[in-house]
């Protein structure tokens, strides 16, 4: 068990009984270890997500085993599987209903780019309707790849400033997708 990467304490000024660090770092650290996913699983990748939740890969290690099916309570929207054009408005609505801060991970070829389904009925990548933070390639990605993508999200969360969500860039990004 010794080789597990336990979170390192955020860099700060360490002294006897004195430990200071910027709030952003601590909050980012906390958030990154408590990302509750909303599994928006529509097809094959959802089955691999089950494997990720299962005992072999144990998503719980990252503090994310509580899937929140209610978008209000979720921090991370994991879009897994093909999103057809019929589904796109639903996906968007779920994203809009999520409480800030929220992150999106597109798992698998279908969600990221449409994959082999280059057809009239399939959305060619969910980034057409909602902003995506991390893409995970693979069809479906192995649990290792999903965890890898999740770790990338954790990195993102750790380094995000508390105020990013109020920044004009972020608002512009959302406006680009016509959200709020």
């Amino acid at each position: 068990m010794s080789e597990i990467n336990i979170v390192e304490a955020p860099p700060g000024i360490e002294g006897s009984g004195f430990f200071a660090t910027s709030l952003d770092k601590v909050v980012g650290l906390a958030r990154s270890h408590s990302l509750w996913p909303l599994p928006f699983a529509t097809s094959c990748c959802g089955i691999e997500f089950m494997a990720t939740m299962g005992s072999h890969y144990d998503f719980a290690r990252f503090g994310s085993e509580r899937p929140s099916f209610s978008p209000r309570q979720a921090d991370l929207l994991m879009v897994m599987g093909t999103i057809a054009k019929k589904m796109a408005p639903v996906l968007r609505q779920v994203y809009v209903q999520m409480a800030e801060p929220r992150w999106v991970i597109a798992v698998g070829a279908c969600a990221s780019s449409g994959g082999i389904f280059d057809t009239y009925s399939v959305l060619q990548g969910i980034d057409e309707v909602i902003p995506v933070d991390v893409y995970v390639p693979g069809c479906p990605p192995r649990p290792e790849a999903i965890i890898d993508g999740f770790n990338k999200i954790q990195e993102l969360v750790k380094n995000e400033s508390l105020r990013r969500r109020e920044s004009p860039e972020y608002k512009e990004l959302l406006a680009k997708y016509g959200i709020q």
């Binding site: 080789e3 597990i4 890969y57 290690r61 070829a109 990221s112 994959g115 390639p137 693979g138 790849a145």
Partner: protein, 169 residues
């Protein structure tokens, strides 16, 4: 209905006996089972630190192979692109010039060779289609990334490192 196959095995629903009606014995039995699992060795693989051993047939990231002399094997025949159900492969062929014999094995080679890893479904058909044994899906898992454009893997990421560099490492 009469039997269609003569191999019928009828599973009757047994009515519950007294103990089963009491709820508790079954619950305690179940709890005993779960409790036993507490002391079983854990199945979990600590992924980012420990990796499970993959089978040698496993299909991961593509790599464009070199032959024994370190020359690229690909001849840009386009069969892999043709066989790709996701249409994820593109390439531009070029004629080998004089003096490049040490670089490319055949007279034609792929000047650019791009795979869109987001489109790719890792089905292995390109590997099978290649007549030159130039492409294999024997790499690690393709890492996740932040931007869509970063998933176009060109020759810089796909081609195997030359033997000399491998030896250096």
């Amino acid at each position: 209905m009469e039997s269609l196959s003569n191999r019928k095995k009828v599973l009757e629903q047994k009515p519950m006996n007294f103990w089963e009606r009491m709820y508790l014995p079954a619950i305690f039995k179940g709890m005993a089972i779960t409790f036993r699992h507490m002391f079983k060795p854990k199945e979990t693989i600590f992924y980012p630190e420990v990796e499970r051993e993959f089978s040698e047939n496993w299909r991961g990231m593509h790599s464009l192979k070199r032959d024994e002399e370190g020359r690229e094997r690909c001849t840009a025949c386009g069969l892999c692109a043709l066989s790709c159900p996701a249409e994820a492969i593109t390439m531009v062929a070029a004629e080998r010039k004089k003096g490049e014999e040490a670089l490319y094995r055949e007279e034609k080679y792929a000047a650019t060779y791009e795979i869109n890893m987001l489109r790719c479904i890792f089905c292995g058909l390109c590997e099978e289609a290649c007549p030159k044994e130039a492409i294999y899906l024997d790499g690690p898992i393709v890492p996740a990334d932040y931007l869509r454009k970063d998933f176009i893997y060109g020759k810089d990421k796909l081609v195997e490192k030359p033997l000399t560099e491998l030896i250096k490492q």
